[in-house]
């Protein structure tokens, strides 16, 4: 009983300090991970670098123009932004966590990460829709390097979500059995839990495990983003985003 009491007092003491300073002298907060959560409630909808709480950026190219607007909240989805790409064939629009340029990456190639997006496609025809992390370009799709979910209506599985790991323009692609339906929420999770192991989940269910064509060293400017490419000039392509969670872990700093 006496030992239990001592343990309990120790636990209580830790709890008190954790509630105050999240650490104590000699025990600084372990900054061994980065954590970003975006609810798409705050910020300015239409202006690059100010979108959402984290200051997301709009990137347009190949004749396309992406615009971002607020959308009314829905039950269980508070705070929604809509990305809409105009009706120009081969136009590309990217909504990215960081501005897209050579030095603007949010992690290096070998970092482990856990990422979740909650997305609601509003279109599902004549488009490429990609959600994940890559070296994105508004001039071309697919990216040279990346880890992402994809719908490619011109591909082998035009109506399904696919899991993609891609390195130096070579892909490992696995079709899930999950259809890309419009106006339907999907919770897409990518967990790279090993340098050569990536797990893909849709709505909490493990749908793919990849061990090949995973990002290797020297690829250091990766950014999380949602990309849409219009494969026909018939109509705009749009999607809604409700949530983004991104943890990079295993850092030493």
């Amino acid at each position: 009983m006496k030992k239990a009491l001592i343990i309990l007092i120790l636990l209580l003491t830790q709890s008190v300090w954790a509630g105050d300073f999240s650490g104590w002298m000699g025990n600084p907060i372990p900054f061994n991970q980065t954590l970003a959560i975006e609810e798409f409630i705050g910020g300015s909808a239409g202006t690059t670098a100010t979108i959402g709480e984290l200051g997301w950026s709009i990137n347009s190219g190949s004749g396309g123009t992406l615009t971002v607007a607020n959308v009314n909240s829905a039950a269980n989805h508070s705070g929604i932004k809509n990305g809409s790409l105009n009706a120009v064939a081969n136009g590309i629009g990217i909504l990215s966590y960081t501005t897209l340029a050579g030095n603007n990456g949010t992690q290096i190639a070998t970092d482990l990460f856990d990422m979740t997006w909650i997305i609601r496609p509003q279109t599902n025809t004549d488009q490429d829709l990609a959600v994940g992390i890559a070296i994105w370009s508004a001039a071309a799709y697919p990216p040279t390097h990346g880890i992402y979910f994809e719908q490619d209506t011109a591909g082998a599985n035009p109506t399904l979500w696919q899991c993609v790991t891609r390195f130096s323009s070579t892909s490992t692609t696995t079709a899930t059995a999950i259809t890309v339906a419009t106006n339907t929420w999907y919770k897409l999770r990518i967990h790279r839990n090993g340098v050569n192991n990536v797990l893909f989940y849709i709505d909490g269910v493990l749908v793919c495990t990849h061990t090949t064509n995973i990002l290797a060293p020297t690829i250091n400017s990766l950014a999380p983003a949602t990309l849409v490419k219009n494969l026909a000039a018939l109509a705009a392509k749009t999607f809604d985003l409700d949530y983004f969670y991104y943890k990079v872990y295993g850092l030493s700093r």
Partner: protein, 254 residues
């Protein structure tokens, strides 16, 4: 002994029962009396009020200050370079307050807080570089600030090549040499822990290097913010990289 055990268990129970889907147990409010901000310098852009996830601000005089992305490297992802132009005696400040000149919060200097900043100096000669909390303005008269709690390199000071811990109130300083050399292209993790009104602990890379009990400011004034500020003492650009800014402020009565 058994009664004492049960008594402590009763005290401990509210702290352990927050897993009910809410942040607090029924009847126990979420502690919004704490501010906690973690800036990783991933999002946003590089103009003032858009820097990083939280829209940090930059300002300088008489020269200019610029922010630019720095490529991520192992263990330091999401970085910005902050550079002041080559006009001698330019003071440039990066501030958590997006619009420079605004108070961070009322009662700023009276608050207990825990601040960590991870920076990498790119220059270490003929400059003053300060990292912490204070009234950091944009004129030479603001260097050093009239009040603040910060790490400092002052190449014109008594310890020109090392980091110095400073508490400063009303223009009077307590300064302690940390003995840690300011090297270029080297990451430093600074932590300032004001754990009591009259007690400040300074850490560099997890090591407690100074403890101050004097000249700790208690009044607040304009331009007080969690900031880093640099002045060039020659006509050359000066810069540093910043990877992280963390601030936790206690005892917000709200």
């Amino acid at each position: 002994m058994k009664k004492l055990f049960l008594f402590i268990l009763t005290l401990l129970t509210p702290a352990l029962t927050h897993a009910d889907g809410f942040f607090g147990k029924q009847g126990v409010s979420y502690p919004i009396n704490t501010i906690e901000i973690l800036e990783e310098f991933n999002g946003g852009n590089n103009s003032s009020s858009t820097i990083g996830d939280f829209g940090l601000g930059i300002a300088a005089s008489p020269g200019t200050i610029t922010s630019s992305h720095v490529a991520p490297i192992a263990n330091h992802i999401g970085n910005r370079n902050i550079q002041i132009s080559a006009t001698i005696n330019t003071v440039g400040t990066l501030s958590l307050t997006g619009t420079f000149g605004a108070n961070f919060n009322n009662g700023g200097f009276a608050q207990l807080y825990d601040q960590t900043v991870i920076i990498r100096p790119q220059t270490n000669t003929l400059q003053e570089l300060r990292v912490g909390f204070g009234i950091f303005g944009t004129a030479a008269a603001n260097m050093p600030p009239s009040s603040g709690i910060y790490f400092e390199q002052d190449t014109a000071g008594a310890n020109p090549t090392t980091w110095v811990c400073v508490t400063r109130s009303g223009g009077t300083s307590t300064a302690t040499n940390s003995a840690i050399t300011v090297s270029t292209n080297t990451w430093y993790k600074f932590r300032v822990l004001r754990w009591a009104t009259a007690n400040v602990a300074f850490f560099i890379d997890g090591v407690n290097v100074c403890n101050h009990t004097t000249n700790i400011p208690t009044a607040y004034g304009s331009n007080a913010s969690y900031s880093s500020s640099e002045e060039n003492l020659e006509a050359a650009v000066k810069s540093y990289d910043i990877d992280l800014l963390y601030v936790k402020i206690l005892n917000q009565q709200r």
